[in-house]
Structure formats: structure tokens, C-alpha cells
Amino acid sequence: MDNETNQRVDARPTKGFFIHMLTRDVPLDKAIIDLVDNSVDGARRMRSPGDDFSKYVINISCDEGQFSIQDNCGGIPLDVAKNYAFRFGRPSDAPHELNSIGQFGVGMKRTIFKLGQHFYIKSTTQEHIFEIEQSVDIWIKANDWDFEIKNVKQADPAMTESPTSGSIVPISVGTEIKITRLHESVKEVLGRTEFKNQLITDIEMAHALPISDGLQITINGERLRPFDFSLLKSDQITPAREIVPYDLSAGKVKADIVVGIVEEKSRSLAEGGWYIFCNGRMIRAADQSKDTGWGGELNKYHPDYAYFRGFVFLEAEDPSLLPWTTTKSNVDVDSKLYRAVRQKMCNLALPVLGFLRNLAKEKSALSDLKDSDEMEPTLQNAMNPELGATTIKQSRFTDIPPATFAAPRASVSKGSKDSSVRSIQYTRPVAKIEKVMRSLGVKSAKEVGEQTFDYYLSNECE
């Protein structure tokens, strides 16, 4: 084809451009969590079925000079390192690891490039030990895209005792990644307490499930705490659950949706909303946006709903079927699967929101009533721990059976309260109320309210 009129252009990306594009849109904390994701996938792979995560440890250490992560979660097998782990993007022939978190084939490399100019990786599996060490600035100048695997050795079985066969061995079969010559901007951020605290919270949320199941993660020696999975249950109130199997042409996905309320003392405006998990990884925490239906299928999120908690556990053997974005920090709202799941989520949630609206009404009605004998706090009683309400604390709420939400619908009024009248309560500045008092020639705020209402009624409505 090459002749004078047809010539070829070199359209290969430069490595520098490639690294820039790869790292520009991922926030530093999300990049670091990608490495934790890999460790958790390793632990899940190592674990015997039915086992929890209590034998596994992930230690992160970071300061202005370096970042490192060490785990005992099985290491990177040599053939995986050679063929897949260091490729950019998952090769189409790569086998999918069942129910894993990692799937896009960008995580580890993206994090290394995002953080610094030099990296060292040591992997110890039950078969092999190997190392990779590379300066990124030198690699950029090289013509090929390869990394050199060094010091490949057969593993000594005695040295690589599997953690499943004994108690925790801090670093036996696992991976160590150390990044040095950090970028200037990264140095500054990693040194900040605020960033470290944010990272702790982010990992506590992202890996809330494995941490609840015993996984030990530390950051600079500080052990991360388990997330509070709790929902209220009483004689009259039971959380709702629906398990929906989806049989997609490309494979199967299971959606397990649990919704309910938390007890009075756990009410929190910031923590109310939806928590979405894909293969055990939390990708949305306390979502109060339109992405999870608020202000669309549901009313807008509102302080009355601060008791609401919704948990969505999506599971698929093939992780590419799940609706997550590459940073695993959001749902892909346009995904067909997610659109179908969201309808189920909202149908399950609506009765809970109705209950919470009635609860708010009951509270305000009771505070308005001078004579509290007129009305029973039916809804509040149903939530009262002193009257038997308890809290289910379980990472996947496995004790909650599939059912719709059950709760009392309305407060019981005592005696013969006249339903044809209703009280109105509102607040205005004192100075303005007194001005109207003088104008009307009355002595109380109550009279101001009644007379201004009657005035409006006779002048504008009748």
C-alpha cells in the first residue's frame, strides 16, 4: 500500500500522554483504595467457602516520603503477573475472576503512576516469589512497554504457610507494593491529617463488608473500624427485603435489597439514604441523590427521612455485569440493570418513607396538643427500645426474611377528638407579631393567628 499517495502516520500514544490521561480523573484516595481492592480480592480468593476474613491483614503506611501496602492475601501468581496484572486494560482473553472487585485492568498501574516515580513490588505465592522494581521516568523513555520481573524463585513451602491453615501470619503469602519518589503534589497531600482521616473513612466505607467480617486493615498502625450495619425491628416494625435474580444474556446477577429504619439515637441526616455494594465493595454510601431515586421516583431527601437506610447488595460472578464506574465510587445510572434494580429499590422504600412522614406528623401533632391525652404516640411507641424494639446488627442482614415493610400506619387518637377542626402553628419575629397585635388591638399571639386567619378568609376566600 505504501506509495507516494498513501503514507502512514504514527498514531501510537506516547507513554507520557497515556499516563497523564490515565491518572488525571482519579482522586488520590480512590486510587489508593484500588490497591486495597486488589488485596481484598486476594483474600476472597484464598478464603475457604463459608470462612470469614479474620485471618487476613492489609497494612498501609504513608507519609511525605513513601507509600506502601503489604498484605497476606495470597500474592500475585507469576503467570498472572506475566500475562495480565501489568497489562493496561484487561485483555479480552483474560479469565474473569469470579465475584471479584477488580475488573478493569487499570487499578494498580494507575495508582503507581498517580503517586510517584519509583515502585517496588514483591509477590509471594505458594509457588513463586518475584520482584519488580522500576523507575517510571526511565520506563517512559524506553521504547517498549515491558516491566522486568526480577529474582524469580520457587517458594519454600515452610516460608509460605497459607494463612488459611493457621492463625494470622503478618506477611507470608502476600503482596508488598512500595512507591517512592512521590510527586510533589502527592507528598503534600499524603502529609495532611485531613487526607489521612478521609482515607480511613473511605476505606472503612468501601470495605465495610469484609471489615465487618473480620478483615484487619491498618493505616499507619491505626486499625480501621467496622461500619455500623443496623436496622430497627420490633413487634410492629419489620424491615423489607427483596431478592431479585436477573438472568442477563451475558450472565446472572443477583440483587438483594434491604430497607428499613434505624432507632431514634442513630437518626442522622448525613447517614440516611442508600448504600450500594457491588460484589461486596461499597460503591455508594448514604446516597441522597437522584441517582438512587430521591427527587425522582421518591420524594426529595428530607430531614424526616434521616431514619431511612437502604442497602443494595449486587452480586455477579462476572463483575463486568455490575453497574459500577471505573473508580468504583459511583453507580452507572444509565446501566439497564441498575435502572431495573432502582425500580425495585424505590418500590420497597416508598412505604418506609410514608411511615417516616407519618412519624414526623405524629411528633408535631403531639407537640401542638396541649392535652397529650388526646393522642397515642403509636408510631413512636413502635420504635421505642423500652417497649421491645431491638436493632438487628448484621453485615448482610441475613436474618431478615423477604417481605414488604411492616409498620403501624397511623397514630391512634384517644377519646372523641373533633376531626373537623385542626390547629395551625407557625413562627414569626416577635417585633412583627407585636406590631400586628397593636394593629388588631389584641393581647396574645393566639389571637393574632386566629384574627389574621379570619380576616384573610372573609376578604379573600368567602
Binding site: G295, E297, R339, A340, Q343
Partner: protein
């Protein structure tokens, strides 16, 4: 007349167009027998205190699994007392809190017969039903679509508040009921008068149904995909302009049953084609004596026509309109039930 001088009672009993609509809906619902025996259907509606729809769906179709949703929780005893049959259950609460709790295992006729205008809550109810109802179910939605009237202001009102145009006033009212982003661009400059608001509501209801059908089908296997097949679009007026939209949810594999319903041969059927307008339920002003006379010339054809000399004294348009709905025209009599 009745011993109960309640304005509500008179309203409900003498709403002629509503009564005709109810009979047309019953006539359509009979055709659902191709899917299942009607006695195996459920009925869900807003019975209020009068349960007019529950009475006819039970008496005429034999449906006995009936649920009325009642948002007024204050007068529970009164509502329970007024149930016309023992088989009517009442679920107290907002419709969008109660609808998701119903089982939706059986084919169902649901009539969301709202008193008021279309709002976000009504669209939520439609979403719940479109994503929950099994194939063979009939979904009906009625809303008030009478153009908003600007309140008359008297002299004591602040002068500038009266300056807003009627069109802007109506759009402001609309914005209190519905999310702005729902309103299609072509309605933004409409004055929303006459039947324009009904046109907008029809569009919003059908848009919502289509979007929810897509979401429902998004991840289901092809065999269980459902479609919405409109059969009814009524305009009627007993004082306020009203719109009813109705249609069936049908799984693709049950489409042959839908075809067997032969809805097309009912004169009031509206399948929702682009060039099609609503079926207007006529409410001609004729006296009972005139109606008796007209009935002797109906149905038209076979030698019978409205041009008969005996009918000359009657307004021809009213006669024409009556001839379209005479089978559904309510028989009114003074009685004490």
C-alpha cells in the same frame, strides 16, 4: 330525594358523564375475560365513602378481591362502615406508601381515580403500578384537568400581585404540582386553557408509563418483557374537565390474548395513535321525556334515524351526541336506598 342532604352525595350520584365513563370501563373490562375469568381478577381503587366503582365491579364483573386505598386516616370507622360488600378491604395510607405493599400476584384492574390534578405523587403511583402489575392487568388513571383560575383579588390586595398574566399564573400553578423538567418544550408557551391542560397531562402520563416500561424491561429476559397498550382516553365534564387514560400491561407472549379482546370494535376505544384525539363523553342536556322518545329511534340504522319528524323539536346536536352514548346513559330515578 335522599334524606342525607350531603352535597357530596348529590355530586356522586348525579355525575352523569362519570357514570357513563364507569359503564364504558366496565364494558372494556369484560373483554379481559380472554386473559382470565374476571372473578379471578383483583380490583384496586380509591373507594372514598361511596365506593361507586367497587359496587359496579363487584356486581357486574363478579370481582371480589377488592382493595380500596384511603388516605384520610381520621375517619376510619366511617369508611369501614360504608363498605358496600364484605369483600372490600380498606388500606389506610398514602397511595404511594400502600401500593408497593400489595401483592400484585394476580391480574388486576387498578383505577387511580384522583380528585385533583396530576402531580408528582400520582406519577409515582403510576410508576409503582407499571413496574409491578402482572400481564393482563388494566391500569386506569383519572385526573382533574380543569384550567387553573386566577383568584379574584379585591381592592385590599397588593396591587402588583394582580399583574401576572393568566398564562404565567397557570404555569406557576403547574410548577407547584410537577417537576419543571417533565414539561415538554412544546407546552412551555401554551396558555393551558380549554382542553390544553388535559393534553399536557395525557402526554405526561403516557411519557411516564413508557419510561417505566423501559426500566421494567431493562433487565428482564425477553419472554417476560411487557408492553403498555392504551385502550382508553376519555375527556368528560360534569363541572370540571376530566381526563382518563387506560390501558393494559401485556407480556409479549400474551399478545395473542390481547388481540382476541377485540377492543377495536368498541366505539370509544382510543389506542393512543399519534393522530388520534380523546374520546369525548357526551353529556347532552335532554329531559327524561325527551330521552324516552329518542330511545325509540335507537340504535340508528335499520330504518331508524334522527331525522324523523317527531324529533324536530329537539336540538340535533344533542340528539346526535345522545345516540353515541345511549347504551351507557344512567337511568336516574328518585329513590331512597
Amino acid at each position: 330525594m335522599s334524606k342525607q342532604p350531603s352535597y357530596e352525595r348529590i355530586n356522586y350520584r348525579l355525575r352523569i358523564a362519570k357514570s357513563i365513563e364507569r359503564k364504558m370501563i366496565i364494558e372494556s373490562a369484560r373483554r379481559l375475560a380472554t386473559f382470565s375469568h374476571l372473578v379471578d381478577y383483583s380490583y384496586v381503587g380509591f373507594g372514598s365513602l361511596y365506593f361507586a366503582d367497587f359496587v359496579v365491579f363487584h356486581r357486574l364483573l363478579g370481582i371480589s378481591d377488592m382493595t380500596s386505598i384511603e388516605k384520610e386516616e381520621r375517619d376510619q370507622e366511617r369508611f369501614l362502615f360504608n363498605r358496600p360488600f364484605g369483600c372490600v378491604k380498606i388500606e389506610f395510607g398514602d397511595s404511594n406508601s400502600v401500593l408497593p405493599l400489595l401483592p400484585w400476584k394476580k391480574r388486576t384492574i387498578v383505577w387511580l381515580d384522583y380528585d385533583g390534578h396530576l402531580d408528582e405523587e400520582a406519577l409515582q403511583d403510576i410508576r409503582i403500578l407499571v413496574t409491578s402489575l402482572p400481564s393482563g392487568s388494566l391500569l386506569l388513571c383519572s385526573v382533574n384537568c380543569h384550567p387553573d383560575k386566577q383568584p379574584e383579588r379585591n381592592d385590599s390586595s397588593p396591587a402588583d400581585s394582580a399583574k401576572i398574566s393568566l398564562r404565567d399564573y397557570r404555569h406557576n400553578r403547574l410548577a407547584t404540582r410537577l417537576n419543571k423538567e417533565r414539561i415538554p418544550a412544546e407546552f412551555r408557551n401554551s396558555n393551558l386553557g380549554n382542553w390544553n391542560l388535559a393534553g399536557l397531562y395525557y402526554r405526561l402520563i403516557t411519557d411516564q408509563i413508557q419510561a417505566c416500561i423501559q426500566d421494567r424491561n431493562a433487565s428482564s429476559d425477553p419472554a417476560t418483557k411487557v408492553g403498555f397498550h392504551q385502550i382508553l382516553r376519555f375527556h368528560y365534564e360534569d363541572g370540571a374537565k376530566m381526563l382518563t387514560v387506560g390501558g393494559l400491561l401485556v407480556a409479549d407472549q400474551e399478545l395473542p390474548l390481547f388481540d382476541k379482546c377485540n377492543f377495536e370494535n368498541l366505539e370509544f376505544i382510543r389506542r393512543g395513535r399519534l393522530d388520534e384525539s380523546a374520546y369525548e363523553i357526551a353529556n347532552p342536556c335532554l329531559t327524561p321525556k325527551e330521552i324516552k322518545l329518542l330511545d325509540t329511534y335507537l340504535p340508528l340504522g335499520d330504518g331508524r334515524s334522527l331525522s324523523n319528524d317527531a324529533l324536530k323539536m329537539l336540538p340535533s346536536e344533542a340528539c346526535q351526541r345522545y345516540s353515541e352514548i345511549y347504551k351507557y346513559y344512567p337511568l336516574l330515578a328518585e329513590t331512597d336506598l
